[in-house]
Subunit: 198 residues, 4 copies
Amino acid sequence: MAATAPAEKRRVILDAAVRVFARQGFHTCRVADIADEAQVAYGLVYHYFSSKEEILDTLFLERWDLMLEAISEADAQQRSPREKLYAIAAFIVESYRHDPELMKVIIVEVTRAANTFGRTHLAKIREAYDQIAEIVRRGQAEGVFRDEIDPAFAALAFYGLIEQVLTAWIFDAELVAEEELDRAKTLIVDTICRGLDR
Amino acid sequence: MAATAPAEKRRVILDAAVRVFARQGFHTCRVADIADEAQVAYGLVYHYFSSKEEILDTLFLERWDLMLEAISEADAQQRSPREKLYAIAAFIVESYRHDPELMKVIIVEVTRAANTFGRTHLAKIREAYDQIAEIVRRGQAEGVFRDEIDPAFAALAFYGLIEQVLTAWIFDAELVAEEELDRAKTLIVDTICRGLDR
Amino acid sequence: MAATAPAEKRRVILDAAVRVFARQGFHTCRVADIADEAQVAYGLVYHYFSSKEEILDTLFLERWDLMLEAISEADAQQRSPREKLYAIAAFIVESYRHDPELMKVIIVEVTRAANTFGRTHLAKIREAYDQIAEIVRRGQAEGVFRDEIDPAFAALAFYGLIEQVLTAWIFDAELVAEEELDRAKTLIVDTICRGLDR
Amino acid sequence: MAATAPAEKRRVILDAAVRVFARQGFHTCRVADIADEAQVAYGLVYHYFSSKEEILDTLFLERWDLMLEAISEADAQQRSPREKLYAIAAFIVESYRHDPELMKVIIVEVTRAANTFGRTHLAKIREAYDQIAEIVRRGQAEGVFRDEIDPAFAALAFYGLIEQVLTAWIFDAELVAEEELDRAKTLIVDTICRGLDR
DNA sequence: CATGAATGAGACTTCATTCAT
DNA sequence: TATGAATGAAGTCTCATTCAT
């Protein structure tokens, strides 16, 4: 009789927290809501996490580390800078497809709320920006990208667009169509690389 | 000797709220902090506003209406789509130069905190997106912009970049140099219009 | 051009207070509600009355003194004890007919709210009880009323019935019919004097 | 060693509330006073009750249901209408003897304050009136009571007298003598049934 | 007399966190 | 591990009252 693995409840709580944060927002929800959603005793939340904020931190770090890995991998495996950017955009879009609630929490509650929480994670967030900027810088060195644009600035443009697109999806009343998700990957890179001009 | 205009205190409270929201964040600050900052009795805040949230709403709406006007004006006065986009970017950057704290509040506490507050203002925020999209659409009709990019998507890219740049400034430890502010205006439009590609 | 008599506003405020107290209850209403209802500046209420409670006190005392006079008069003018009781009941019922809101305030907010306010007016309220008891006592001395019942107890029965009837009217959803008002006068005295027994 | 039953604290709070409401009045007391009286943490009051008002509601309903039962029982067990009325009067007087503070709260804060709270309980209160009226009606049908008096009116007289007597006791400075309590039971019924007339 | 802005103490309620079992 | 009762600090909002004009 396989007893529930001890740390499994921890996962249950984290997953419940995603749903609750996505639905009610971090500030607005109560720890009790998370416990209820997880069908777990109130106190157990505090057995595994020292505070409500730590739950959010955990969710963010889990996901952001995957993101940093994905960026590294994209950088390592793809040949052209544009392919690298595509791989990154694709990873983020796929993350959204797989778990839109988690992405909503990451973007709305952490990345965008950088004032209060992100402050802690600012360094971590910047790692991503820096890696992207580095990709652009090397693209410029290779002569693929124009020199006029500061790589850091280019990274802002690239990540800013992705974040804006996801935010639009997040606050859209209706479900995003599968094809739109796929199209977005190409569109993001195309827009960033080629610009609006004819 | 002109007596203090009755509604002047209302303004004092609003201005104090900007500083407090910028410094401590909307959720973290207390109404008492605003009253203290305004050097005004606690209750007076509630004489002019029905809640802490209404103060934030007021600040947002005041500013966003100016923004919508600026976009309209840019659309009306400038000839080319690119000049129109430049005028918009310039307006936002100048807004930041003039009152960075207010812009921080608008972006961090309202625009990006889309979950809780932005929700209420989503329609208002979308008006701006729509106007920008319309500029792009007409640019495409004129043959200045490529047809491949959905105007709404282009608007996300444009506004997303600006917001990302301002966010970077906002969380920068150090003061942004005057020249950087000016350079940004051109850079934003150049990046969006011409893209990264050489 | 007859200028408004100076003290007229005082009356306007008192009358407005009756309506507001009747509608919202003393504890639940705010001084601002009274000023609004009276169409008078906030501060003017405090020009004429030192506190919200003083307004209620004034209303009660004005009315209760009329009541005490009415009882004295009934005692003086009527011959039989039963006629005296009838005159008293009639006076109270007529008071209700004339200004049900005022009676509601007197009963609900003062007489029955004996804990907080009635306390102050307990002595005044008891004067009425005592006068009624005295009428009963003399009725007993004359041999009209039975000796078995303590006059004070009889007064409780008499006044208790009246108050209960008015309270029923007060909380009745619909308007009380004119005939019911008149019938009540007789019924009250009949019930008290003759009892339920056949 | 029996551990403290979980809901026991709830009872402690209710009992403390009776004392505090009786002493200070519902409007005048603070939730903190109840917590202090119960020797319980502030927040625990809100663990068991959603508001101060709910505490009062609970106290009222607990007691009034007993009252309704007592009336039903009196109706079922006693033979003559007068015995039924006696049983009801006796029950209420005994309730007062047993817990005068609770009765004070029920009468002063709920029954009499029907404006604000009783409104909710008006229906419940009327059930009692109706049951009493029904007893009178059947008394009339049996030929024991006179037909001239509307049963509902008779119920007002009966309950009004009881309430008035209790109110007198409640605001009496001194403790009510045991014999007075007992005598009251008979006196109430005698007064109501036989009236004042010789 | 009249106005209504200004004051600030006070009360309710919430909820993160602790703790005894 | 697991439970949920218990704690109490903190914050929002209300509103009677004052006061300058």
